[in-house]
């Protein structure tokens, strides 16, 4: 638990220091992300060796204290947060002066990491509200770093995000009114002992979280906000920020919904997940702008998360929990790589449209390779992480024939993601009239953009231990 606590506090400290000492902000935050990666690894090692741990913040008794819990799942998510942050920070450090990224990026991204890490560790409804607000405000401020062109998207993001938090808070207040607990494990016990009708509270919480996680049909704010942000910010937002509310949705529905309500909720998640896959994929295929395409791909990919969540609630099979979180890990790595590489190519080739990428396989082969490799995981080609997640989703589904209609939906989603990735790849291999880079592409940022894509392909080799850690 000590290591996990340090992994939350270190970025917070770095954020404050970076604000005071702006000249060294970049190096400070970069170092803090590397150290927090080590701390998160140590926390995972601690859980695997000594078992799960929990602590009551401030040493108050249960009911008054905020409980933080470190188990295999939260340790893995903590590690994912630290890993993505260190990758993105390394990339930004290598090119932020070229890209004209504001120095405010560093304290804000450290704050984002701290907020997200505490979200993954916490199991307290109100503490989740506070971390959600921190996450939302930091994310909006990060989008604003793009300047004037991002104002409208950021404003819309802020208003919807605040409305979503209020929805969530009202639900929490009603739940507390019913049972008198904010601590999730205690609340779960109270609900199983004397169930009261708490549907309204749960639906309010769900609506708020679905809006925050940009789950179809509440995704309207995401493409504009993620596309308007600078490339490293888009990577953080798409890879990490939307996963926080998704994790909360999983925790709340798996622990606080009774068996009957869980089946009702599962239909909502199955239907919205299917729609997200198809509609998001279709929009990604139709847009003329590169970053909007990647952002819509996030909307579509979150559909797999929703399907896994819905299936877990519907069939109560732990295999779907494994599928959900392997998908979360794989998508985080693949999307980081895609956004960083696409951002790097936009910067050097000078254009927002997909047509800018004509001949990119010749002019910027490394970055294009990163997009193609990460795209392979988004499509679900073996042996990438995306493939493992999809396999884990399909294998148990095969045995439950009453949900056969999900198979064509998943197939359509896969074909659509293959289509939008290949649309980019085909353009890149059109070498007849390549778009010339404005200035010589630097190699280091391209390698750093490729790194997460290589990691996601290596995820398959670690899938044995991943599955055993997520087995519960």
């Amino acid at each position: 638990m000590n290591f996990a606590l340090a992994a939350v506090l270190l970025p917070l400290l770095a954020a404050v220091l970076a604000l005071c000492w702006r000249r060294q902000a970049a190096r400070l935050v970069w170092l803090s992300t590397l150290f927090s990666l080590l701390l998160a690894l140590a926390a995972l090692w601690q859980v695997v060796t000594f078992g799960p741990a929990s602590m009551q913040l401030g040493g108050w008794q249960t009911g008054l204290a905020i409980r933080w819990q470190l188990n295999e799942l939260s340790a893995l998510l903590l590690l994912m947060t630290a890993l993505i942050h260190s990758l993105v920070a390394s990339y930004s450090l290598s090119q932020w002066r070229d890209a004209g990224l504001s120095a405010d990026f560093w304290p804000l991204s450290a704050l984002l990491q701290s907020a997200l890490s505490s979200l993954f560790l916490s199991v307290d409804l109100f503490n989740w509200y506070v971390t959600l607000e921190l996450l939302g405000l930091a994310a909006v401020a990060l989008v604003l770093l793009s300047g004037k062109k991002a104002l409208q998207a950021a404003m819309r993001y802020l208003l919807l995000s605040l409305a979503a938090s209020l929805c969530y808070l009202l639900g929490v207040a009603l739940l507390y009114g019913h049972y008198g607990w904010l601590d999730v494990p205690q609340l779960a016990v109270a609900i199983s002992e004397e169930p009261v009708d708490h549907r309204l509270a749960l639906w309010l919480i769900t609506a708020g979280l679905m809006l925050k996680a940009a789950l179809w049909p509440l995704h309207v704010w995401l493409p504009a906000a993620h596309a308007a942000a600078p490339a490293p910010v888009s990577a953080l937002l798409s890879a990490l920020v939307v996963k926080g509310p998704l994790f909360m949705l999983y925790m709340i529905w798996s622990q606080l919904a009774g068996p009957e309500l869980a089946v009702t909720g599962s239909w909502l998640f199955l239907l919205t997940g299917s729609m997200a896959l198809v509609v998001g994929g279709w929009s990604a295929l139709r847009t003329p702008y590169a970053k909007v395409m990647v952002a819509y791909s996030t909307v579509a990919q979150l559909g797999y998360g929703l399907l896994a969540l819905g299936l877990m609630l519907h069939l109560t099979d732990p295999a779907f929990t494994q599928a959900l979180f392997i998908f979360v890990l794989a998508h985080a790595l693949a999307k980081t790589s895609t956004f960083l590489a696409v951002g790097e190519m936009q910067l050097r080739l000078g254009g927002k449209r997909l047509s800018t990428f004509r001949g990119a396989s010749q002019t910027m082969p490394l970055a294009m390779f990163a997009v193609a490799v990460a795209g392979g995981s988004l499509i679900g080609l073996p042996p990438s992480g995306g493939f493992v997640a999809k396999w884990q989703l399909l294998l148990p589904l095969w045995q439950h024939s009453q949900l056969w209609w999900l198979l064509p939906v998943i197939l359509a989603g896969t074909l659509l993601s293959a289509a939008y990735i290949f649309r980019l790849v085909v353009l890149a291999f059109n070498r007849a009239k390549p778009v010339r880079p404005d200035f010589a592409p630097a190699l280091l940022p391209q390698w750093l953009a490729l790194l997460p894509a290589l990691l996601v392909w290596m995820l398959a080799f670690a899938s044995g231990s991943l599955l055993s850690w997520l087995g519960g």
Binding site: G63, V130, L158, L159, L162, A163, L166, A173
Partner: protein, 90 residues
């Protein structure tokens, strides 16, 4: 109808007005005020729920206090953003 129900009804009304203002818009300031109304509704629910017992539930009061701090900072941020939008468009 008990006093608790009465206050909950007022909170529901405030929430409804806030939602309407937020969706209807279109001025940004109006939307921010609508969000604050929704916040007031949530805090009213919390204070009402706290008042059901004697002495009143301290946890809910603490939540309202924290919620107010969050709401004030979020509103300040939103207003700064509006100011920026206006100065950019002028």
């Amino acid at each position: 109808m008990s006093l608790v129900h009465w206050y909950l009804l007022i909170a529901a009304g405030l929430w409804g007005i806030g939602c309407y203002g937020l969706i209807r818009g279109p001025e940004l300031l109006r939307r921010i005020i609508a969000l604050n109304l929704m916040g007031a509704a949530v805090f009213l629910v919390m204070v009402t729920l706290a008042a059901r017992t004697d002495p009143a539930d301290g946890v809910l009061h603490a939540l309202v206090l924290t919620g107010l701090v969050v709401a004030v900072s979020a509103t300040a941020f939103a207003l700064a953003l509006v100011a920026r939008t206006l100065s950019e468009s002028a």
